[in-house]
């Protein structure tokens, strides 16, 4: 996608074309900005050109003299991955000076995989008007999807069909978790249209990876490695006695719920008797382990591997191994650093956000770090293995001293 120069921005801001620009006096109402980003991502008029939100300009085009500082740019940047918009839009936020007026601009590229939803509603731009997509408009958005270029998790799983999905669960859990109530209520669509709009089947009604992972009747039949291998050993080495060992199967939400219970049971909370107070603290902060395991399932590769995510509980540490090296802007050098987030599985990430396993995108490692720091534990360690050509991401959490 081409970047926009300041000259092109000026033409957009002061030219006549109204369905690719949006003017905002300030960032006081972030929801309105999210709606605009959502609508530009969906690109209903099919311009295949970026849309731009100009922050710091009045409706009539005059400068509102807003102070454009780092805080403002960060606030706007959060719109990308705070989870209100799914899947995340492709967007860039920067400062620009147009005709002497300092502005913050959000440049939004049309998505390959529409519809993008803001809190479960797909917004579209029709001329200068912004509205929630009608069922008919949403169908047109789905048709614009460029199947060939989609990430693995949005591609169809050859050989599978609708009967491989648990459609009861789709109705009871998936649909209400992903789509706003009013959208469900007003649109009396067939289940296949709903599945397609949610990126769960392709144009031939073949389930996508995300559908098999979230709703598959037998997820491991198609992806034997899409599981968690849990092992608890009685010492500090893998060769020590195994206390407990199991493979967690089923859909990814099923696995996440079970691993939570297993970790909770393993994570003992010894009581220290003091003189006046008893303190009771778990060996590991639950939130940290939870986030790191969820991260592993969300970011690992599911393509061309039969390896499970391995969670190994030693007497002094917990290790989480996930298949596939780092992805995109996350490299062996930036792995685990704040601010470096990328998504190998954006559709799966969207689903896990909808289910509530992810509160905010890009925050998992931060939450884990903070929880560990608060409980007085050492920081988590992130490693790629092997270092030269990583095929595993290896996370180690050590027990409080």
């Amino acid at each position: 996608m081409p970047a926009l120069s300041d000259g092109e921005l000026e033409t957009l801001l002061h030219g006549g074309e109204s369905d690719r620009n949006e003017r905002k006096r300030n960032a006081a109402d972030l929801d309105k900005i999210r709606e605009a980003v959502c609508a530009f991502s969906n690109d209903l008029p099919d311009r295949r050109q970026p849309g731009v939100v100009f922050v710091g300009v009045e409706d009539d085009g005059t400068c509102s003299n807003l102070t454009i500082d780092d805080d403002l740019l960060r606030l706007l940047g959060n719109v990308r991955d705070d989870g209100a918009l799914t899947p995340f839009p492709v967007m860039e936020v920067r400062q620009a000076t147009i005709r002497g007026c300092s502005l913050a601009v959000i440049i939004v590229q049309p998505t390959l995989n529409p519809p993008v939803r803001f809190r479960g509603r797909a917004w579209v731009r029709v001329g200068p008007r912004r509205a929630i997509a009608s069922p008919e408009e949403e169908r047109r958005l789905v048709e614009k999807r460029r199947w060939g270029n989609l990430p693995f998790d949005a591609q169809p799983v050859a050989g599978s069909n609708l009967s491989d999905l648990d459609l009861n669960r789709f109705n009871l859990e998936y649909l209400p978790a992903m789509v706003s109530r009013d959208t469900i209520a007003q649109n009396q669509r067939a289940v296949v249209d709903q599945l397609r709009a949610l990126r769960l089947i392709d144009q031939d009604e073949t389930p996508t990876f995300t559908a098999i992972a979230m709703l598959g009747k037998s997820t491991q039949h198609w992806f034997p490695g899409a599981s968690i291998a849990w092992r608890r050993v009685g010492g500090e080495n893998l060769t020590d006695n195994t206390i407990d060992e199991r493979v967690l199967t089923g859909t990814i939400p099923d696995q996440l719920r079970r691993i939570d219970e297993i970790i909770d049971a393993a994570n003992i909370s010894p009581v220290e008797m003091g003189t006046t107070v008893h303190t009771r603290a778990a060996e590991y902060p639950m939130a940290a382990l939870q986030q790191l395991v969820r991260n592993a399932l969300m970011h690992r590769t599911y393509e061309g591997t039969t390896s499970p995510v391995r969670v190994t509980w030693y007497s002094d540490r917990v290790e989480i191994l996930s298949p596939g090296g780092p992805f995109g802007v996350v490299t062996p050098l930036t792995l685990g650093l704040p601010g470096y987030t990328d998504y190998r599985n954006p559709t799966l990430a969207e689903a896990l956000k909808g289910y509530g396993f992810v509160e905010r995108f890009g925050q998992g490692i931060e939450i884990a770090r903070m929880a560990l720091a608060q409980s007085g534990s050492p920081a988590p360690q992130f490693r790629c293995e092997p270092e030269e050509a990583p095929v595993w991401v290896h996370v180690t959490v050590r027990k409080r001293p």
């Binding site: 972030l30 929801d31 669960r169 009871l172 859990e173 209400p176 978790a177 109530r181 939400p253 996440l256 719920r257 896990l352 909808g354 289910y355 509530g356 396993f357």
Partner: protein
């Protein structure tokens, strides 16, 4: 900003939980909310904030809670401090409560009669909650100020209530809370009358605006209604049937008219006891209607979550519409407007 107090002198009627959920629902509907925890039990703060965060606020000093902001004023060493609200959601600001708030009960009782002597300090103290709420409301550009109070008829609640433009009365699934209406109604009128008396004697140039003490009753909400069970539910149903009349007679102070078409026009909502959702919501620290499968709301629970969402959305809409229909004014004019609405 319009302020709404949730008040019943019977405790355990789900008042705090109701306010918490409504704050979220208003925010989800794009409104900006200030939630003020004026209950010395600080339950609302405990719903919004983690224990360790509350602990830190109470230890912080300064003006982190409703009590610490009022302390200089109460001790006579200065005026009200600007409290630092906790931003608990994109459009929700919380004025944190404080267990030590009960310490100001005596001072508020002492200053109440002194207003009659036109003492400036007495007005400064009695209007403290209102001043705090309005200044945070203005700073947050809030649409609604929601006030949580404890279940009693004491001096703290009197001051909290006179800062309310509107009052909503939650009723729980027990007959005591319906009987509580018989106390609430006359008390609200007494407080309104007494405050009007005092307003007339307020010295000029106080330097701040005094509340008008409107406390217009918006209606009642039956919470945690449960159709489950036999004996107890039956006895309760008898009281429930009497609630519309008790509300009209005691809270609105009007004649009950059996022939009226809409006998229950004052009921804002009858909310279910969302049995399994509430503990899940407390664990996840989010409202029941935003529970996700990851929080345990799997399978059929999602349907309950959706139903709960619809119920609270309808309640929030009802409250907004009633507020939009009325504008609280002083004294007789206000009571007239209540009567006019009741007749309509």
């Amino acid at each position: 900003m319009k302020t709404v107090a949730f008040f019943n002198n019977k405790g355990g009627v789900g008042k705090t939980s109701l306010l918490y959920h409504l704050a979220w629902m208003f925010a989800l509907r794009g409104k900006r909310v200030v939630a003020a925890d004026l209950d010395p039990q600080a339950n609302l703060s405990a719903m919004f904030l983690q224990d360790d965060r509350i602990d830190a606020l109470w230890a912080a000093g300064g003006a982190a809670t409703v009590y610490s902001a009022m302390r200089p004023l109460m001790e006579g060493t200065g005026d009200l401090l600007q409290v630092t609200p906790q931003i608990v959601g994109e459009r929700i600001a919380l004025i944190p409560g404080d267990l030590t708030l009960s310490e100001i009960e005596d001072e508020l009782s002492t200053q109440w009669p002194r207003c009659l002597n036109s003492e400036a300090r007495a007005f400064r103290v009695i209007a403290a909650f209102d001043r705090m709420l309005r200044s945070i409301g203005a700073a947050q550009d809030a649409d609604y100020g929601l006030i949580d109070v404890g279940p009693n008829l004491g001096a703290i609640n009197r001051c909290a209530l006179i800062s309310a433009d509107y009052v909503v009365v939650p009723i729980g699934a027990d007959l005591f809370s319906i009987r509580g209406l018989q106390n609430v109604g006359p008390k609200l009128r007494a407080w309104r009358r007494e405050w009007e008396d005092r307003l007339k004697r307020a010295p000029e140039s106080l330097g701040f605006r005094l509340p008008n003490g409107a406390m217009e009753p918006l209606g009642y909400i039956i919470s945690r209604y449960s159709a489950y069970g036999r004996g107890a539910a039956k006895a309760f149903q008898r009281w429930l049937d009497r609630a519309p009349r008790i509300y009209v007679e005691y809270v609105l102070n009007l004649q009950w008219d059996d022939s009226a078409l809409d006998v229950d026009g004052n009921r804002l909502a009858q909310l279910k006891d969302y049995r399994s959702l509430l503990p899940m919501a407390q664990e996840a620290r989010k409202p029941m209607f935003l529970l996700k499968p990851a929080d345990g709301a799997i399978g059929g629970h999602q349907a309950a979550v959706q139903e709960c969402y619809a119920d609270f959305e309808a309640l929030a809409t009802e409250i907004e519409e009633r507020i939009a229909l009325s504008s609280p004014t002083l004294g007789d004019a206000k009571i007239d407007s209540v009567e006019a609405r009741a007749k309509r």
